[in-house]
């Protein structure tokens, strides 16, 4: 009998746990440890943030589902890793701290045979002084608990605009190395459409602020894509949309401080500037959770497991951008020191960014960190689960399932406005996610045809359909496993 512990119940952790449970007999134990009591479909938070979806529509409680599916659930947060056990415990374990009401603060050793670290990112708001959701006129749509008050603030602002007030809205990234530009991109377009719906668009000056060097970088170094019969750069496509919607933009901006209604930032020229606003939604930096690790003799071995995020089978050799290769990216998400530990989704430490690293004239790093959200999170979680399942069933180490982000496609169906017939979506698919400049030297590292863009109502319908499909899948309803990640 094997015990598999999954840390985290987000997209990655939940996908891994559900596949493990389906494919392994009940002789084997699947345990999910998560501080969150609810599963949330994060991509729909942008709609909660404009009041077009209720947060209850994007979440459900985990405990009843896991009980029904015979997945053990511990509502706790991991704090320390003991991959060799300790003086009194021979099995490897993770020290967790309960967060549920009746057990709050209680520590527990959760032993495991296999460990999947799917803890995702820490939303590191502290990395930017004054960037606090709900304070200083800044807001967030990173979680449903953030998105609900964000809508309340936006709604109040719309009411003021209806009274004739002119406002400035700032949306984008809130740190020089933030990622997840896609979510901010969706939110700015949705806000813009909502202002038009409320007939107050003329009262707002909307500005995109981002650490991207060019529009449409999205932390993926931008892309060359097919759009209709044309081949264009993602920067050209986003510029077309922003100009068409009268959205201004500030690029190469590392936001470093927020004061009440003022964002201070440094640009690549090394200039320190500021931008005022009445409402801002800025994505924070993502960081690891600051876990510690110890060996059997209680010596600290954190650097064997973590480099911010968890170390996996990537090539972490420091080298210049020009020497980066597709082969640098991990394929099995297995920790090199402890073969029974894996880190899919956002929890793994990327070998480097995907976008070209850039520094300001003052030496401040201003470029997007690599995104691993959504589809790659699900795919990497499933392949990790499949390798563990094979290893258990074949009784020998098996790593047949591989999935490098440099040999994996992703679809970003970006909502550009909500509405059954007035909605809009910008659908962009990319293959591969990490450009392989050696394999596709003439198309900026991507395969044209599989890398394409499309704008229109169909994109909105598709995004809405994906919401319902993935909620169905996450609830593990009949034949959920037939639906791809």
């Amino acid at each position: 009998m094997a015990k598999i512990v999954v840390l985290g119940a987000g997209i990655s952790g939940h996908v891994a746990a559900s596949h493990l449970r389906r494919k392994l007999s009940k002789d084997h134990q699947v345990v999910v440890v998560s501080p969150n009591s609810n599963y949330q479909w994060i991509p729909s938070n942008i709609w909660v943030g404009i009041g077009r979806m209720k947060s209850k529509e994007i979440l459900f409680p985990l405990a009843p589902l896991y009980k029904k599916k015979k997945i053990d659930f511990i509502q706790a947060k991991a704090t320390t890793f003991y991959p060799e056990g300790d003086a009194t415990e021979n099995s490897p374990y993770v020290l967790v701290e309960h967060v549920s009401e009746n057990q709050r603060g209680t520590a527990e050793k959760v032993t495991y045979d296999y460990l999947i670290n799917a803890t995702g990112p820490k939303l590191n708001f502290e990395a930017t002084e004054g960037l606090i959701p709900g304070k200083n006129k800044t807001h967030s749509v990173c979680t449903y608990t953030h998105a609900d008050p964000t809508w309340k603030a936006l709604k109040a602002l719309i009411e003021e605009m209806k009274q004739g007030k002119k406002v400035k809205i700032l949306i984008g990234t809130g740190h020089g190395k933030a990622t997840c530009q896609g979510a901010a991109f969706e939110y700015i377009l949705n806000v813009e459409q909502e202002l038009r719906r409320h007939k107050v668009r003329d009262k707002a000056e909307i500005t995109w602020i981002s650490n991207e060097y060019r529009l449409g970088d999205f932390g993926m170094d931008g892309m060359l894509l097919t759009y209709g019969s044309n081949t264009m750069k993602s920067s050209e496509m986003v510029e077309m949309v922003f100009e068409d919607r009268n959205i201004n933009w500030i690029l190469g901006a590392g936001v470093n401080k927020i004061e009440d209604g003022v964002a201070h930032y440094e640009n690549l020229e090394g200039e320190h500037k500021s931008e005022t606003f009445d409402f801002a939604m800025l994505i924070p930096a993502f960081s690891g959770h600051g876990f510690k690790a110890f060996d059997k003799n209680n010596n600290e071995i954190t650097d064997k497991l973590f480099k911010g995020f968890m170390l996996v089978d990537a090539d972490y050799t420091s080298k210049p951008y020009e020497e980066w290769t597709a082969q640098d990216w991990p394929e099995t998400y297995q920790n090199p020191s402890y073969k029974n530990i894996f880190a899919p989704g956002i929890a793994f430490a990327p070998p480097h960014s995907i976008s070209k690293p850039r520094k300001s004239k003052n030496g401040t790093e201003i470029f997007p960190s690599p995104p691993r959200t959504g589809m790659p999170s699900g795919i990497t979680a499933k392949l990790v689960a499949d390798n563990i399942i094979d290893t258990i069933k074949k009784r020998k180490n098996s790593l047949d399932h591989k999935g490098s982000m440099a040999n994996m496609g992703a679809a970003c169906i970006a909502s550009a406005g909500f509405g059954s017939f007035s909605g809009n979506g910008i659908s962009i698919t990319t293959f591969p996610i990490v450009p392989d400049y050696k394999k596709y030297p003439e198309t900026q590292g991507r395969k044209l045809g599989k890398t394409f863009g499309e704008i229109g109502l169909a994109g909105h319908w598709l995004k809405l359909m994906l919401h319902y499909v993935f909620m169905y899948k996450a609830k593990m309803k009949p034949f959920w496993w037939l639906l791809p990640e």
Partner: protein
């Protein structure tokens, strides 16, 4: 404001009938790309292809 998307283009972008066809096409294309597989970049097969 600069009108970068022409009125006719915008009409087709929001036309429900045309967009329904696009919806089917997009759904299939996205499915093919996503379910079309993923794999290693370190294998000999990948590096030869």
């Amino acid at each position: 404001m600069t009108q970068r998307i022409s009125k006719s283009k915008r009409f087709w972008m929001q036309n429900p009938v045309w967009q329904f066809i696009k919806f089917i096409w997009l759904g299939l294309k996205v499915m093919l790309i996503v379910a079309g597989g993923h794999g290693s970049t370190r294998s000999k097969e990948y590096q030869k292809s």
